[in-house]
């Protein structure tokens, strides 16, 4: 099972990095005379209404479809882990401040904020990524904090303190490995949430410019072609789902096996 998941994600990663080279056609090359046609030997997944090769666009679009969610996941994880450890270990005013800020951010109507920000500011996914990182982080901070709270009272943390280790060393060398399963699981969940949310933004017509090869955008742009070439929208939708599933399952597995191996 894990092998399958890793294979799926590695394939996606390869496509994300090298998709443009692997693509059999120029993903932007148009053939207006051809238009949207179903799969053939020349175009394995057919073409869209501008006569562009769907397979090439899928490969070229993997980068954009996966890079942004990865970015969201990385930002969220770095922020939430650092701040969560800090709040849970240091306590005091740092904790109070961070928790109040998290309370505020959690009370934000998430999707609403996202639509307003991206709809008003426009211009690509950059702002959406930032907004998502801000929206996802507080929840994760809380989780990490509560785990840290439990860990800091355990004997090994006491011992580290008694040895006079620097707090940053205790937090990142000693506590972090013990909350790692949750961090890994959260990272993958953030990735999935961002993947699905960004595809949703494209569906609403906010976000990336028309014509950008991107999975979410392809689903939306080619939805009208279901009768002519269903693959143009079904294939990217399926890819999003498969990658999201693989990431979620992997997160689940990673959590379980890391937890077993960990100190819990």
């Amino acid at each position: 099972m894990r092998a399958i998941l890793l294979t799926v994600l590695s394939l996606a990663a390869v496509a994300a990095v090298a998709g443009s080279w692997l693509a059999p056609y120029d993903p932007a090359a148009q053939d207006l005379a051809l238009g949207a046609v179903g799969p053939s030997a020349a175009h394995w997944l057919g073409t869209d209404d501008l006569g562009r090769d769907v397979l090439s666009r899928l490969l070229a679009g993997a980068g954009s479809a996966l890079m942004w969610p990865v970015l969201v996941a990385v930002c969220t994880t770095l922020l939430s882990t650092t701040l969560g450890l800090l709040a849970g270990y240091r306590l005091g005013w740092v904790d109070t401040l961070l928790m109040r800020a998290a309370d505020l951010a959690i009370a934000l109507p998430g999707m609403l904020v996202l639509i307003v920000v991206v709809g008003v500011v426009g211009g690509g996914y950059g702002w959406a990524v930032l907004a998502m990182a801000v929206l996802f982080t507080p929840g994760d901070i809380r989780v990490i904090r509560s785990l840290t709270l439990a860990q800091r009272e355990l004997a090994y943390a006491e011992a580290a303190r008694t040895l006079g280790l620097r707090p940053s060393r205790i937090m990142f060398r000693h506590l972090l490995p013990n909350v790692a399963p949750t961090v890994v699981a959260n990272t993958l969940l953030s990735f999935v949430a961002a993947l699905v949310a960004l595809a949703g933004l494209s569906f609403l017509g906010v976000g990336l410019p028309a014509g950008t090869p991107d999975w979410g955008l392809m689903v939306e742009e080619n939805r009208g072609l279901l009768d002519l070439n269903p693959w143009a929208s079904i294939a990217p939708a399926a890819l999003i789902t498969v990658v999201a599933c693989a990431a979620t399952l992997l997160g689940d597995r990673a959590f379980e096996s890391l937890s077993k191996g960990g100190l819990r």
């Binding site: 934000l108 109507p109 609403l112 709809g119 689903v219 999201a244 689940d252």
Partner: protein
Amino acid sequence: MAVVKRLCAAVLLLGVLSVLTYGLLAAAPGGPEQVLLGGRPSTPETRAAIREQYHLDDPFPVRYARWLGDALRGDFGTSISSREPVTAVIADRLPVTAGLAGYALVLTVVVGVPAGLAAAMRRGGRLDQGITLTSLVALSIPPFALSILLLYGFAVALGWFPVFGAGDTPMDRIVHLTLPAIALATGQAAIVVRQMRAAALDLAAQDFLTFARARGLPRRRVWVSYALRNAALPVLTVGGLLLAANLTGSVFVEQAFGLHGLGALLVGAVGQKDIPVVQALVLLGGAIVIVVNLLIDLAYVAVDPRVRHKAAAA
């Protein structure tokens, strides 16, 4: 004291939200003018009249202060595109979204809680694996893709459900909202399943359950009366947050099923720079989240004796 603190935090949050939204909309290029002119050739007189009526030449703080003053007196202004009072616009659409959100929440809980519990009871077994896998898949399907799938399958191919709209009579509405509610609830039920399962498993390891089992209580009784009661807290939290999310974020489903709810209203209003509508919606969204969080806390007190006692002691 705690209540006062909470109220202050709530007011602060709503204030920050409204300034940010207003600022974002006012700073972005374009204004309500294009909507008011209908994208048609216009005369200089008309344009001047519009700028004056909507105070478009005033600096941002003045415009915001004017909006805030009116809002505090309960006047949220008039929608720029429909020229109706904003409160009427929202009141008109709230029942659709509220119905959808409530329906979805019921489905989520009715499916999610038993499934999560069943998975926890049979941990590691076929059933658990099946439920876990299904929930993970459900969690990963983009809601709009699922909407389209459901539309084609059940409304078009099978013809069991209507394709669009919200229906007029209560019964009609339930029929109309079934597919959208399923589309909305699928991902959320998956979250509840996971939450329920995790919470129940956590409890299973605890002493009182082991003790209850040792006393020879039947397995089902142990799970239902102990685990359910104790797992209720996290599930309640998730459920409340999901309800809040549904009220403000069902926009994909609304769009796909042609429902004229709050989400669809927001997307339209943002596109048209309909500042009064966007402002009111964002504030409503913030208020809903705040109230739901408050209710969750109250429910905690009711459900968990430990919290109740702690609260009494404090």
